[in-house]
């Protein structure tokens, strides 16, 4: 793909405007589809909000669509930031142990008797993610310094450990408990309150802001720690800030939606192929693009099998993988030509 020789504010604003418009239309569009018929006109008519159409659209679908948007935005933005700062295209929220920590804590909360609808599970998962973040960061640190390599290794090891712990816990749990755990881990956006959506959105926006502030430093880290240092970047401080901000995004997303895979891996890649590698554009674009992607995947999850619901994590992987492969093949062929 041909692109301009450098990023200008105008191209940044224009690209984000287009993506933003796409997201707005997606939110409206996805709210209108679902297994049960509902009319927006009737829902918006005087008194309609309390009628069946209003309840389906405003109580069931819209909070779910909005939650999907916020979770997709968080996962994709975190993925972009982690890939950039670790200089590794395979980095994603789920290989770094952050979501493993969240899942383990969430599972323990379920087994401790927390009901699936209670706030105890998201709270535990959020805490678990932050615990994992601290473990991975300090585990990878030596002599006051970290390397991308060490962070990735420790993250992968911790994630495997967390997965094994979850299996151990499942082996010891009752059948009903295991079903609850499985369902939660597979990832779901099923109905949440507007309050919870707003809380996650606030965290996500704060995380995005924090990351964007460091976007150009992340660009400079892409040419190596030493070159970045020589260009005036405080390498350790930037890596720490980005790692913490990305982890908070992941923690917020995983704590309310379980382990929705693939969004944090393929949306960053897709956008990098389309828009180029500049993180000043890529980070906000991932936020909006990740939101749009998950909103549509969830719409598909809700409608593909009629009344039965497909776990949204299954849809993200099934829809994402082939699409991603096609795109990757195209860019590989271009590079080989």
């Amino acid at each position: 793909m041909r692109r301009a020789a450098h990023l200008t504010r105008r191209r940044l604003a224009a690209t984000l405007a287009v993506l933003g418009l796409g997201l707005a239309l997606s939110v409206v569009g996805a709210t209108l589809v679902g297994p049960a018929p509902a009319s927006l006109a009737r829902a918006l008519a005087p008194g309609g909000a309390a009628g069946p159409d209003g309840i389906i659209i405003f109580r069931t679908r819209l909070p779910r669509v909005l939650l999907g948007a916020v979770v997709g935005a968080s996962l994709a933005t975190a993925g972009t930031a982690l890939q950039g700062v670790l200089r590794n295209p395979l980095a994603c929220p789920h290989v770094l142990g952050i979501s493993g920590g969240a899942a383990l804590a969430g599972v323990l909360a379920i087994l401790a008797g927390a009901s699936v609808a209670s706030l105890a599970i998201p709270a535990a998962a959020f805490g678990g993610a932050l615990g994992a973040l601290a473990l991975v960061w300090f585990g990878a640190r030596a002599g006051g310094r970290t390397t991308p390599h060490a962070i990735l290794l420790v993250g992968v090891v911790f994630n495997t450990f967390a997965a094994a712990m979850i299996m151990l816990v499942e082996a010891l749990a009752t059948y009903t408990q295991v079903r609850g755990v499985l369902f939660w881990i597979m990832g779901s956006l099923s109905t949440q309150s507007y309050g919870l959506v707003a809380a996650v959105a606030a965290l996500a926006l704060a995380g995005l802001g924090w990351l964007v502030r460091h976007a150009h430093d992340v660009n400079l880290l892409g040419v190596g720690d030493e070159d970045a240092y020589e260009l005036g970047v405080d390498v350790e401080a930037v890596r720490r800030a980005v790692f913490v901000a990305a982890s908070i995004l992941v923690a917020a997303a995983v704590s309310v939606s379980g382990m929705i895979g693939f969004v944090g891996l393929i949306v960053p890649h897709l956008l990098r192929l389309l828009l180029g590698p500049d993180h000043r554009l890529l980070l906000p674009a991932s936020f909006v693009g990740g939101a749009t992607f998950l909103v549509w995947c969830d719409a598909l999850a809700r409608t593909a099998l009629g009344a039965a619901e497909v776990p949204v994590g299954v849809v993200t992987a099934l829809a994402g993988a082939p699409f991603f492969l096609v795109l990757l093949r195209r860019s590989l062929r271009r590079a080989a030509a």
Partner: protein
């Protein structure tokens, strides 16, 4: 002229193994100093110490009288630029984007370039003959083109001190000389203090005002090229017999390896 970058008593090692011992060096505005020496003699380590990337175990490196560690990172990046041997390329930034990164220490956090920054970046690219590669992603450039793009980035940084670590390894004959023409010009006309590691002793003799010969982590000789490039000295440092003749072009020394008979 007073030196800008001064290393005094600099010692550095990895664990117990010392790479550099008691190195003293001063770099004045307008001069081009060449660092030569066999593989593993500590040349790259010296550049990294002078750039502030590594901290000496003993001794100090000072810029304008102030230890490097006491300078804020960005302030230092406005004054010292480094061209390293083989820069990492993870993401396919374009050549122009890469050169614009040299403006980062002069710009606020998000580093959107102003018209003047773009002009500087483009001038730097023209100077090292990569102006026509502007929109080309780094992963679509040859090793030599990439090396010149990274030199352009250092020029765009507008440093007072320029450190180069074998900047011509991937370059053809024309561009080897071209790079040092640019660096020499930068020293003479803009008073940049420059230090370059070189493998090619003849390029070193032609372009450098002064040479530093490193051997076994110590300065074995320092002075004008004709004084340092002496047969016995080179033989001792490199452990190889050489022929030192006269370069017809410059009247300076010409060093050739001497094949072993038989």
């Amino acid at each position: 002229m007073t030196a800008r970058l001064v290393a005094g008593g600099v010692t550095f090692g990895w664990g117990a193994r010392l790479v550099l011992r008691d190195v003293a060096l001063a770099l004045a505005p307008g001069e081009l100093v060449g660092v030569i020496g066999p593989n593993g003699s500590g040349k790259t380590t010296l550049v990294r110490l002078l750039a502030g990337v590594l901290r000496p175990a003993a001794g100090t490196v000072r810029l304008d009288g102030r230890p490097l560690a006491a300078w804020p990172r960005r302030e230092l990046a406005r004054r010292i630029a480094v061209v390293s041997q083989d820069p990492t390329v993870t993401f396919p930034f374009t050549a122009l984007e890469t050169v614009l990164m040299g403006r980062a220490p002069h710009l606020p956090a998000l580093a959107f370039p102003r018209a003047a920054d773009l002009a500087r970046a483009r001038a730097a690219m023209a100077r090292v003959d990569v102006a026509d590669l502007e929109a080309r992603p780094l992963d679509r450039l040859s090793g030599g083109e990439r090396q010149r793009v990274f030199l352009a980035r250092a020029l765009a940084q507008e440093p007072a001190v320029l450190l180069l670590d074998e900047p011509t390894t991937h370059l053809d004959l024309r561009h080897q000389a071209g790079i040092y023409d640019v660096v020499a010009d930068l020293c003479r006309r803009e008073g940049v203090a420059s230090l370059s590691v070189l493998h090619d002793l003849n390029l070193a003799a032609m372009y450098c005002d002064r040479l530093v010969l490193l051997a076994g982590g110590r300065i074995a000789a320092e002075g004008p090229p004709a004084a340092v490039l002496e047969r016995a000295r080179l033989a001792a440092a490199y452990g190889a017999d050489v022929h030192v003749g006269v370069n017809d072009l410059t009247g300076g020394p010409l060093v050739l390896p001497r094949p072993r008979p038989g």
